[in-house]
Amino acid sequence: MIYLDNNATTRVAPEVLDAMHPFLSDIFGNPSSSHTLGREMKRAIDESREHVAKLIGASDTSEVVFTSCGSESDNWAIRGVLATHPEKKHIVTTLVEHEAVRNLCHLLENEGYEVTWLGVDHNGELDLDDLRAALRPDTAIVSTMLANNETGVLFPIEEIGRIVHESSEAAFHVDGVQAVGKIPINLENVDLFALSGHKLHAPQGIGALYIRQGISLSPMIIGGGQEQGRRAGTSAVPNIVGLGAACRLAHEDNDHARIERLRNRLEDEILKQIPNARLNGVADRSKRLPNTSNISFEYVDGQNILMHLDQAGICVSTGSACHSTTHESSPTLRAMNVPYTAAQGSIRFSLGRYNTDAEIETTLSVLPEIIAKLAAMSPYDKELSALK
């Protein structure tokens, strides 16, 4: 199996599994207990928190709170800020956010909040003048992602944070889920930052929220005094240990350069060999994640490509999801004004630390044939022959 869907989730690293294993067998206990076992669990949590803080560059470990997932972190950050500032009813976010932010903001619109949705250009990039114009005295929070999950396009969070703090009193939340473990993180102008373990080889079911010192955030889960009283619920120690180990691995032994080389090879060859292939997202690779290529195969169907690749043992994802009632092309690609016939044929290749040169070559050896077969079946035959 060739796994090129690392933006969806990643394989648990053997190092992570090794670190977790004792906590799923011999070492157990409630970290809130005062006895030896409890204290041992507490120590493990503290150690993990240090690894997370180190990877993202938090100045103090107390700024890192463990949650159950990235979506919880995003929800908490936004709802927590709003609850702390009930007089502020304005939110700024973008049209290309992950559902955890996008759907929450839609919900908040129904709850009486006003949301300014910043658009992107055809490259997937923001116009920061739009942001400047959007900020108001009653803006409670600005929420943007760092790296887009579909295209890998990066938003300049240092600059966004600077503008937010210079021109308003809003808090700046960053959904960093797709970026952590893939690129260095700079939290200089960031107030809140969400991350998720399973995107960087920790198990599913663990996330964290960075809360800058001095930012007050209402808790969302009420109960015991875990996580300094900020997030109740018995700590998921094995998962927390897993996240810590994954962060340590990403910090000490990142494979970014090699992954980027593989991604570049894949992307270059696809764009060179396949006439109806076009890149979605800014061509300048320094403005994209090093592991992601989102490519549209115009006039053919993405789900068809996905199924043929799957049959060849290659896992990717598509921006078009077909259900019997809707065939929605991705909101991100729509916001970028990607033509419908291209958005329907979009495929996301997202690489990770376990991909090899041979896997990329295998993918390149089967993909052109699949696309050619589907192109031969396309009703857009005139448009396709014009591309050749």
């Binding site: 006039y299 199924m307 077909c322 019997s324 009632t325 065939h327 079946m377």
Partner: protein, 177 residues
């Protein structure tokens, strides 16, 4: 995916365009964005000798169109136009879209056949060879007022449906006189 449907998706039959002279039709869905084209070749007995398709849509649509081409080759155009049987394991919406494209191709044929008709009486329904005079007679004899009633009385309009507008016009004329 159901096994037969998956087989047709991975090994689609009759892909492309029917040889000339051919009759073509298309259908698209605004809800799912799929687009399918059908083309057929028809012999002098109105038998479909070739059926080919092109599709950009989900795997169910590809499978449905592929299955449908196999199903209609050898049928007459009115037989093919009135297929209602749902293929196993395929989303009914996708199957319907494929049938719509086929029907559009059959209507393309019927319209051409009507234009080419060189008989003494004007031919209205090319599926069942019903002339204008027969339809007028049925309307007068039985006081018919709708296309459905005409189809029941003399089969006209019971095939591909390309003549429904013409039958309606005949009814309207008869009602005025």
């Amino acid at each position: 995916m159901h096994r037969e449907a998956a087989y047709h998706f991975f090994n689609p039959r009759n892909v492309g365009d029917a040889d000339e002279p051919r009759f073509a039709g298309r259908a698209a869905s605004l809800t799912c964005g799929a687009h399918v084209r059908f083309s057929i070749q028809v012999d002098e007995n109105h038998g479909i000798s070739q059926a080919r398709f092109r599709a950009a849509g989900c795997s169910d649509l590809v499978a449905a169109a592929s299955l449908l081409t196999e199903q209609v080759i050898g049928l007459t155009t009115p037989e093919a136009a009135t297929i209602t049987q749902e293929p196993v394991g395929i989303d009914p919406q996708c199957a319907r879209l494929a049938r719509e494209a086929l029907l559009d191709a059959i209507r393309d044929f019927s319209n051409a056949a009507r234009d080419d008709w060189a008989g003494d009486e004007a031919l209205i329904c090319t599926c069942f060879f019903v002339s204008e005079r027969t339809i007028e007679h049925e309307i007068q004899a039985h006081g018919l007022t709708t296309v459905t009633e005409v189809s029941k009385a003399c089969n006209a309009g019971a095939g591909c449906g390309s003549c429904h507008q013409l039958i309606q016009e005949i009814i309207d004329t008869e009602l005025c006189t």
